[in-house]
Symmetry: C2
Subunit: 500 residues, 2 copies
């Protein structure tokens, strides 16, 4: 993959064809080629997902043998349809794929998602079939997503043309993944935090449209604020680089790139026929294109969400406050390993902290409260001192004050439980609202990692976490996760400063 400073995006890469992404992501009608009456088949499940997802336009299942599936009228051929659908979703077996695409082209359809597998990823024969399919589509001015993909979704449009029956709410996180199951996992992880999705794009073998085409689209897409991506390889490394660098100017791209090792690269070849390329070169691409590279799905979602609720920091200098020493040491180590600077505290800062902290605090960064003094005003006050300090670019806060609850009455009635649940949730929402106001005042990110007080008899941790995202905040699990997130934000900040 060559690195270039040329900013123009090549047009030839799209074979001279325009792509109308609205036909993919905001279609007014869908045809499903390969619809099935058998609930064990994807041709049935995908139809069910489209219907149960609440798609409001016309849905046309195609199946020569059936008149009706899931209460919908079935058509024998694409040519029988009363209108030209915007989007074709294709699950016919490989043997019938070329004919299916030809039918779509003949009907004037411009956008197709090929879910069927058994193409380039299975070897030579598949490569040839895939090429033939693309050839037919392109000749007819039709663009394809896939094959060997899970489908696409666009929750704001109630479009769920996909294999998994998961219907996330609409939001600002785009997921573009060369693996369908990784894409789905990312969506589910976001959903457990009550976070919404703008688009899910499972790109599969990328026979026609490539990862860079989708990045270009998502860069322009008004619903999308952050792009989470899983990539196994690039068919046109230069085009990818140019697009990614351009998109990164407007919104962050957080990416897992696998195939770092020969074992991973070999697995990727059998998966989507992807050629992983040199990992060292890819590291260089990330640096120059502003891509925030992460290494697993937790880091991907953690980092992506951080961009939704934090300002981008102006540097890599961090102040840390912790309710206990060990957590602080873990965070300091993790920060330093990631190239974040755990800054020394000036005398004036120490004096300001001294004015309200108990005598035994650490007088060092991390500011260690030593268990027992974790009251809300303390924490906010320390955060504010560290955020105000002109030698920090961001603050990591480890540990939060627990809600003050009276001793639980016995027996605990349902009403008691509900009341206590509401108290706990309101407590955490308030804590995060205050932290957010400090973050906004000083325009520095404040990343929180804490164990939450969640007695299961009246509140689940997951509900607290969701309540926290409702006030546009995030709470992470471990001190090193907070450091990793701060590193992601800082890496993007460096890119923005470099290009400005």
């Amino acid at each position: 993959m060559s690195i270039t400073t040329d900013d123009t995006i090549s047009i030839e890469r799209t074979a001279g064809l325009m792509t109308d992404y609205n036909k993919f992501f905001q279609p007014s009608s869908i045809v499903l080629l390969g619809a099935s009456g058998d609930p064990r088949k994807w041709g049935w499940r995908i139809l069910r997902n489209i219907i149960s997802g609440g798609f409001s336009g016309n849905i046309y299942p195609i199946n020569p043998q059936r008149d009706e599936i899931l209460g919908r009228k079935v058509y024998k051929r694409v040519s029988d349809l009363p209108e030209t659908p915007d989007l074709a979703v294709i699950v016919v077996p490989t043997a019938g794929i070329v004919e299916a695409i030809q039918d779509c082209v003949d009907r004037g359809i411009k956008a197709g998602v090929v879910i069927t597998a058994g193409f380039a990823e299975i070897g030579e024969k598949g490569v040839a079939l895939q090429a033939e399919m693309v050839n037919v589509a392109r000749k007819g001015g039709m663009r394809l997503i896939g094959p060997n993909c899970l489908g696409i979704s666009s929750p704001s449009h109630r479009l769920f043309a996909q294999m998994p029956s998961v219907h996330p709410p609409s939001g600002s996180i785009a997921v573009v993944s060369q693996s369908g199951n990784v894409g789905a996992t990312i969506v589910r992880r976001a959903m457990t935090l009550n976070l919404g999705i703008s688009r899910l794009i499972s790109t599969g073998n990328e026979a026609d449209l490539h990862i860079e085409d989708f990045l270009e689209y998502l860069g322009r897409d008004e619903l999308t604020r952050v792009i989470l991506s899983y990539v196994e390889g690039f068919q046109d490394g230069r085009a990818f680089f140019e697009v990614a660098r351009d998109v990164s100017k407007r919104k962050p791209i957080v990416m897992i790139k696998v195939g770092e090792t020969e074992a991973g690269a070999s697995a990727a070849r059998s998966h989507t026929a992807a050629l992983s390329g040199s990992d060292r070169v890819f590291e260089g691409v990330c640096r120059q294109a502003g891509i925030i590279r992460v290494h697993n799905m937790r880091e991907l979602v953690n980092t992506g969400c951080a961009f939704l609720c934090n300002p981008v920091p102006k540097g890599r200098r961090v102040g840390i406050t912790t309710f206990g020493g060990g957590w602080g040491v873990l965070a300091a180590d993790a920060c330093a390993k990631l190239g974040l600077e755990v800054v020394k505290l000036d005398k004036a800062v120490i004096e300001e902290l001294d004015s309200f902290l108990p005598s035994w605090w650490s007088r060092n960064n991390p500011v260690d409260l030593v268990s027992g003094t974790l009251v809300e005003n303390n924490v906010n006050h320390i955060i504010e001192v560290l955020a105000k300090y002109n030698k920090t670019d961001g603050v990591i806060c480890l540990g939060l004050p627990f809600p003050a609850l009276e001793r639980a009455p016995k027996p605990l009635t349902d009403e008691d439980k509900l009341k206590r649940r509401q108290l706990v949730i309101a407590h955490y929402q308030n804590v995060f609202r205050k932290i957010k106001s400090i973050s906004e005042k000083y325009q520095k990110p404040i990343i929180v990692s804490a164990e939450l007080f969640a007695p299961r008899q009246y509140v689940e941790e997951q509900d607290i976490l969701s309540a926290i995202t409702e006030v546009n905040s995030m709470c992470y699990n471990l001190p090193d996760e907070a450091a990793m997130v701060m590193h992601g934000l800082a890496t993007y900040g460096e890119f923005l400063r470099k290009i400005s």
Copy 2:
């Protein structure tokens, strides 16, 4: 820290003193010096934790100003006690600490836990006070845990002489931590999985008894099967090395060692006055002493638990099965980065898998089922083929079959919910029982990472995870976590082979 091949454990390191650990962990009576009537103080909270933890022996709170606290008779001085308690728990302020220890010595007490902070971690004055305190204790034949620690617990004995009010069930995981709050976090993480603890030891500044003393004790302790440890530094590196190597022969030690960076080392110095030492030397110590080193609390608990429910593998060769390509690629990459070999499949193995897998499977390791064919018999069959294969030492299984539930009735009654909850839980327990039987048959670890089917209207994921540990199994979250756990098991296996 020097590396030696001498197997003898130095006796001088204990200052010629014997330590009766039963007095610490199975005391028949406890005296609490610094008991308080003020619920905001640790002297009150620790007493409450001891009482509410269900300690069955005599409890003697000491406080010159009070007659009764929490319904317990309070004594003015240690000399007033009707018997010599086995264990002294000490929370008096630093100003009174030497006198308190002297009182204990005079009364013949042999075991003390000093929770009070403000010693070596605060500088020169604290160093001197700490030395004086130890001197008084040792002269009187009394051994000390701490100071600046969170306390100890021994759930089988209903002993919770500690700051946090967390009462884990009795089990076989020992936690020995130089950070109290990290120790407590580890215990809570284990508890959310319904896993029990044998001992929690918060070692603090280690003024008298050191990390290696506790390792030696836990190595002999029959309740303990695996030791999880958080360490900031060593006062006697050679002694630590010798003890660790000896204990590792009998049970695995999984350890976080911080202070890898200057920022972390500096934070550790203010925390427990620990000197972190060279990280490269420590890596060598781990290799030679069989310590499994991990880098965060999730890895620590994940790896520790794996030892409780898996045989130790005979090598680093791994077979992987996955329900979808991306997860498989992530696992393959993670394995290779950790030095695990993702073995090539022999022709005979491919033929055996061909005999029952659908035509489109990957014919490669990872064995990729490609979504849609994840039925229970398939998964077990693949796992068995991979476990039987003479070129694997362990199997990683990514993804599990979901429970087959009928469409939810509307409205869903409480009885329906309960029934469905039980079905889901029984399904997963069964899946893991079968996997365990394959693991036992071939004496190879089988590590599972999967998204679980947990519709929150009738079952929480946490309840499924707990149910899985009930059948002595574990389910991890991410593919790279499974690889990390396998790496931990294999690292220990290498040590055992080397010393045998």
